[in-house]
């Protein structure tokens, strides 16, 4: 393979350097090159939201960026959010409120909602529903996801 390009990117605080084809999607880079399989891939056209990550602190679709575009930038994936021993308060709230069943969609919801709660620490139900409109869940019916966000907001504000 010719046409390889260097990418240096900080993911969850750790710098990585790889040579990749320009066509490699950021989602595939995270999963295949770095082994960070917490970022899921559902549709690869921006609709399902499960590949959502934080790019320089902002929620974006990792399937709609090329890995080389992340050169020099900072990425946060679900692996960087909390640890098994110490879940992020939003993860804990998802667990407590039964906001996941198969959990395929969960990383995308979490990465969408972390910056949302930073911006709006006391969201209304309507704001929460609008915030998650770009994330699809085939299991939960969304009800408990909304409950989890309210719970997390309550706990994080306390």
């Amino acid at each position: 393979m010719d046409n390889l390009m260097n990418v240096t990117v900080t993911v969850n605080g750790t710098p990585y350097e790889r040579a990749v084809e320009p066509r490699l999607l950021l989602s595939d880079f995270l999963r295949h090159e770095l082994g960070l399989t917490g970022t899921h891939v559902g549709c690869e056209h921006g609709v399902c939201g499960t590949c959502t990550i934080l790019f320089d602190g902002q929620a974006v679709r990792s399937c709609l960026m090329f890995a080389i575009q992340a050169d020099g930038h900072e990425v946060l994936t679900v692996e960087g959010l909390g640890s098994v021993d110490k879940l992020h308060p939003l993860q804990q709230a998802f667990r407590d409120a039964h906001a996941l069943q198969c959990a395929f969609c969960t990383p995308g919801f979490l990465m969408t909602l972390v910056p949302f709660l930073e911006e709006k620490p006391n969201p209304t139900e309507e704001e929460i529903r609008e915030a998650i409109a770009g994330n699809l869940c085939r299991c939960t019916g969304y009800q408990n996801i909304v409950e989890a966000v309210k719970l997390a907001a309550e706990r994080m504000g306390a």
């Binding site: 921006g46 929620a59 770009g134």
Partner: protein, 294 residues
């Protein structure tokens, strides 16, 4: 579901980007936010052999006051930035009102103002809004630049006047005239979905309160933004009474649009929505022009 190989350039100036486009012509594609281009590449509907990424062209990222009292927006300005910008809120309220209807926050964090206009999706909000506002678009090539008005810019389904060696660099949003008002309304199945139908209205009244200028533009009912010229003609010079607005809305639905059917909505339902949204958007725009309501 993976893009075909391509050669990637990341120029840092518009001049450099234009040189790549001049060299590669139809083989090259401009990469802005990628929120429309990358999905089509993932599906291999688009297989450009060269990508010219504008994300490092810092001169294309800005929102600044125009000398005429309007606003100038650099083509690469992110949709999310326009959405929250106080100058846009003050000077281009129609744009401000339309922004939250575009996709989802994660898409707007990457998608660009210029990309949305250059993409010319008939279901997109900003093309219709730019026509309703008489926005002017600055297009550059190595040979120089030209200004095109929004109503001449869109020439059909996903098609604009931009040539392969050209870039859209700036969108000029004109100032709001005295006694003017605007309104954006749309119906979508879920928040953030592409609209089944949307309407952008921009009106101005004369000293007596008669209609001096009426622009009513629909999205998702044709091959691009569809202007309701007959409805506007009906209102021109008239007082915008509820009866006059209702008559204009009926004319818009029966004479100005010819929507199609697809899996999302039938032509009849779209025509029905045109009538409702025309009435709602015109009523709100005229109320705002009269200084009534928010």
């Amino acid at each position: 579901m993976k893009p075909a190989p391509f050669k990637y350039y990341a120029p840092t100036t518009a001049e450099e980007a234009l040189a790549h486009l001049a060299e590669h012509g139809y083989d090259a594609k401009v990469l802005a936010g990628g929120q429309s281009l990358i999905p089509t590449m993932n599906f291999r509907l688009a297989q450009p052999s060269v990508l010219v990424d504008l994300n490092h062209v810092s001169e294309l990222f800005y929102i600044k006051p125009g000398g005429d009292g309007g606003v100038l927006v650099g083509a690469m300005t992110r949709e999310s930035q326009v959405e929250h910008d106080p100058l846009i809120a003050e000077r281009a309220p129609l744009v401000f009102e339309a922004m939250p209807h575009i996709a989802h926050p994660q898409i707007r964090n990457r998608g660009t103002f210029g990309g949305c206009i250059a993409h010319a999706d008939p279901a997109a909000e900003l093309p219709a809004v730019s026509v309703a506002l008489d926005a002017r678009l600055r297009i550059r090539s190595q040979a120089g630049e030209r200004w095109v008005s929004a109503d001449e810019f869109f020439v059909g389904f996903f098609t604009t006047v931009i040539e392969p060696d050209e870039l859209l660099v700036e969108i000029a949003l004109p100032p709001m005239a005295p006694r003017s008002g605007c309104s954006f309304q749309e119906v979508a199945r879920r928040h953030g979905d592409y609209a089944l139908v949307g309407a952008a209205a921009s009106v101005a009244l004369d000293h007596q309160g008669r209609c001096q200028r009426v622009r009513l533009v629909f999205l998702s009912v044709g091959e691009g933004p569809v202007e309701a010229g007959r409805a506007a003609d009906l209102l021109q010079g008239q007082f915008p009474t509820p009866e006059a607005i209702r008559a204009a809305a009926e004319t818009a639905a029966s004479a100005d649009v010819d929507p199609g059917s697809d899996i999302h909505a039938s032509a009849d339902y779209r025509r029905h929505l045109v009538k409702i949204l025309a009435r709602q958007s015109l009523t709100q725009a005229f109320d705002r022009a009269k200084g009534i309501g928010g």
